[in-house]
């Protein structure tokens, strides 16, 4: 009877690749199509902002459709890592359940972003520019001001890695410290509520660009290190399986 290790590496890797697809889709949709990498200035008048949506309404509609599809992959990507959190913690899976809860909410924040842009671009010529301005502000706050659940999850990943009881550990310990650091580094995204201009407005270098590059850079790093963890875990599981098969009495001995 052929026995297989209990981890389906193909599916695990596919889940990780969905995260790569998420980032690629963002670059194409938000960047190339919508011209929303970086944000329009919060200091624009409602009229100026309305013009941006009217001018690119076709690109925004298509871009949002694409982004909505690919951004639900936050859920699948984050669960690949959460599976390893389950393997790293012993006993009652508190960190795992926190991860599931945080990320289950997380993808909602993600797809509300393209959904809202799509609604703004739905009737941009007749929609009151003042309303468009509020909705656009809302999107950028959804993009940035909602940093806490993501920082909380980064801290949980770090904690899980430091408490990993496996030998060898699933992730190298520096990944834990990197997660703690990234959690702190995206904090300035929360400052956007205080400013309409300057480095901590939602188009500023401190509140947008740095957290933006940190967050997506962190996604890339976690993807690479999780691929490595899958490879490492597979070796361990295969060795355990071989040892178990060796230890079984051969049929002729019965």
């Amino acid at each position: 009877m052929a026995r297989r290790i209990e981890m389906d590496t193909a599916l695990m890797k596919a889940a990780l690749w969905t995260g790569v697809a998420l980032v690629a889709a963002m670059i194409v949709s938000q960047g190339i199509l919508m011209h929303f990498i970086g944000p329009p200035s919060p200091n624009l008048t409602a009229q100026e902002l309305a013009q941006k949506f009217i001018a690119r309404k076709g690109e925004i509609r298509v871009g949002c459709l694409v982004m909505c599809m690919f951004w639900c992959f936050w859920a699948t990507w984050s669960m690949a890592i959460t599976i390893f959190i389950r393997k790293m913690e012993k006993g009652y899976p508190i960190l795992t359940y926190c991860s599931i809860a945080l990320n289950g909410g997380g993808y909602v924040f993600f797809i509300l972003i393209p959904m809202t842009w799509a609604v703004i671009a739905y009737r941009p010529e007749t929609l009151d520019p003042a309303i468009m301005q509020i909705m656009n502000d809302w999107v950028w706050f959804d993009y940035l001001f909602t940093w806490p659940p993501f920082a909380a999850w980064m801290a949980i990943i770090g904690l899980a890695i430091l408490k990993d009881h496996n030998l060898p550990t699933l992730y190298p310990r520096w990944v834990a410290y990197l997660n703690f650091w990234c959690a702190i580094l995206i904090f300035p995204a929360g400052l956007i509520v205080f400013f309409k201009t300057g480095p901590f407005a939602y188009d500023g270098v401190g509140a947008f660009w740095i957290p933006f590059f940190i967050f997506f850079g962190w996604m890339v790093t976690m993807t690479v290190t999780t691929f490595q963890a899958i490879a490492r875990r597979r070796l361990t599981l295969e060795a355990e399986l071989d040892a178990a098969i060796e230890a079984e009495p051969s049929p002729s001995a019965l």
Binding site: L162, P172, R173, W174, V175, A176, Y177, L178, F180, W181, I184, L185, F187, P188, L191, F194, F195, G198, P199, F200, G206
Partner: protein, 197 residues
Amino acid sequence: MTTLVETESLSTPKRVPGEPGAWIFILGDMCVFAVFFSVYLVQRAHDPELFARSQEQLNRNLGALNTIFLLMSSLLVVLAVRAVRQDAHRHLAPYLFVGAIVCGVCFVVVKAFEYHEKIAAGITPETNSFFMYYFVLTGVHLFHLVFGMGVLSVLWRLAKHENPSGLHLAFIEGGACFWHMVDLLWIVLFPLLFLVR
């Protein structure tokens, strides 16, 4: 073979305090703050009178008091780490960590009072460029400090173990270094924002 190597090395063997991974975090954070310091000084140069005038409204005594609180907490952390390493003194370590946390709480209370003083006087992050940097830089530092107090409470728990493992000790050292970084950053921030003009 090993004894030969030991007797030949006259200096104490070099070791990384804590874990290498922790230093990515600590040094990286220090670099981010170095960028903050530089950006502040460049902005100040655009309007030195505004910055000097606004700076006068800061409470330097409270800033100095906070510096003392942080220095005291760092000393307590140094003593706590020393205590954890010595069997005879390990029982003192949890109290020392608690002492450091209390100093941290004092810092937060003073800072809250300082912010309240400003806001009650109508000064907010949006008042002018100087006050934006004042609130943001001290706010980001405060966030690090609160995170650091979380780290200290983990160290307090670890210090209660009768026989801490190698990993425990490495984490305690790394956590202590993070706290010293929080102190170190304030040592630059306080004169930069409050004193020099």
